[in-house]
């Protein structure tokens, strides 16, 4: 259930530059507005893009969080692949992986 709120937080950040600025200035306050587990807060704070992907965060949301966190495209793809290696298969969500060996 908590995955829903991780995604909702990212949805709000993607839509609203003001909220995005607030988030990067004071993440803990923003986290407090959402029902998140400790693992989810840690993954968002680092950020651990690979773990967020494994948790099942929709990649259409995750991609933009990675970009606003400073990842370029190859780094983003590699972070998800590293996440699979470290944490195992995607746990839930629409964008489950096949073999993780796309053409890029």
């Amino acid at each position: 259930m908590s995955l829903y709120y991780v995604q909702k937080l990212l949805y709000h950040l993607n839509r609203d530059p003001v909220q995005q600025q607030h988030f990067f200035e004071d993440r803990d306050t923003v986290f407090g507005h959402y029902t998140l587990t400790e693992e989810e807060v840690d993954a968002l704070r680092k950020p651990d893009i690979g773990l967020l992907y494994v948790m099942g965060v929709n990649a259409q949301l995750l991609m933009h969080y990675a970009t606003m966190s400073g990842y370029d495209w190859p780094q983003y793809i590699q972070a998800m692949r590293d996440g699979i290696d470290q944490y195992g298969p995607v746990r839930e969500g629409l964008y489950a992986m096949q073999d993780g060996k796309g053409a890029i």
Partner: protein, 279 residues
């Protein structure tokens, strides 16, 4: 009859964000096909573009996800993505709320739709608009089909939406172009990004240009997910346009897999106004 042109096009954000990383010849051919579609829309005198897309959590979220939604705003805004990433400047996009209202009222005679007086475009709209009306000279009527989050409506409802949109467009005096975006195989923004099922895509496109209703409606989400990835749920948009233009055989103006753009990029022309209807 006010439908003056209909077609579909790809909307991968990589076409602009990673544009120069593609094979130069393929990119040139793709951009030429986009430009052919732009010139056809302009040449047909389109006074509005009804654009059927699948947005990616730019406006709609799982707290209240509409199956179908049509914009009725005074103006739109986009793209929501970082413009330095998407390489499309943020801007306001012209609308026509009066036309939106008339289209929505007519569509609602047969298909229930939500309406939205606020709408921020993401790449699903902004990438096609960047090529099809780069100066944003033509008002846009955005239409969204939920292709991002289950439960999704069955394909026969996209077909019904297409029929309803066509009837609504025909009831309006304005010259209107109808464009669907997205929808071939892709596994976007995942470690599988770049996978393409070209054979699946070409079969789908053949069904689309030949308006094979039974074949198109026979696609199941399970098959689509297995063969085309999560991104291919967007076939709902092109099925909608095929329904709206059922009476004409379409043409493939471009169709090639471009892995760095994460999909088979296609430009399909699905309806051109018959010569005897041109004024």
């Amino acid at each position: 009859m006010s439908l003056v042109y209909a077609g579909t096009c790809c909307h991968s954000p990589a076409i602009t964000s990673r544009g120069e990383m593609a094979d130069p010849q393929l990119r040139r051919q793709l951009l030429e096909a986009f430009d052919r579609q732009r010139r056809t829309i302009e040449g047909a005198g389109a006074e509005a573009i009804v654009m059927v897309s699948s947005e990616h959590f730019a406006n709609f979220f799982m707290d209240n996800m509409p199956t179908f939604s049509i914009g009725i705003a005074d103006e739109y805004y986009g793209p929501i993505e970082d413009p330095n990433w998407l390489k499309i400047p943020r801007t306001t996009i012209p609308a026509n709320p009066d036309l939106s209202l008339r289209l929505i009222n007519q569509v609602m005679q047969s298909v229930d739709v939500c309406f939205a007086q606020e709408w921020k475009f993401d790449h699903g709209m902004s990438v096609p608009l960047h090529f099809l009306t780069p100066q944003y000279k033509i008002p846009i009527i955005p239409v969204n089909i939920n292709c991002q989050s289950k439960p999704m409506s069955p394909l026969h409802r996209s077909w019904a939406l297409g029929l309803a949109l066509r009837e609504a467009i025909n009831s309006a005096p304005e010259k209107i172009a109808l464009i669907g975006t997205g929808g071939t195989s892709h596994w976007p923004c995942t470690p599988d990004s770049g996978k393409i099922n070209e054979a699946w895509d070409r079969t789908l496109i053949d069904h689309l240009i030949n308006k094979r209703k039974d074949a198109l409606l026979a696609y199941t989400d399970e098959d689509t997910y297995r063969e085309g990835g999560g991104g291919a749920f967007e076939i709902r948009t092109s099925v909608c346009i095929a329904a709206a233009t059922e009476e004409q055989t379409g043409e493939v103006w471009f169709c090639e897999p471009i892995p760095i753009y994460a999909t088979t990029c296609s430009i399909l022309s699905l309806y051109q106004q018959p010569l005897d209807l041109l004024t």
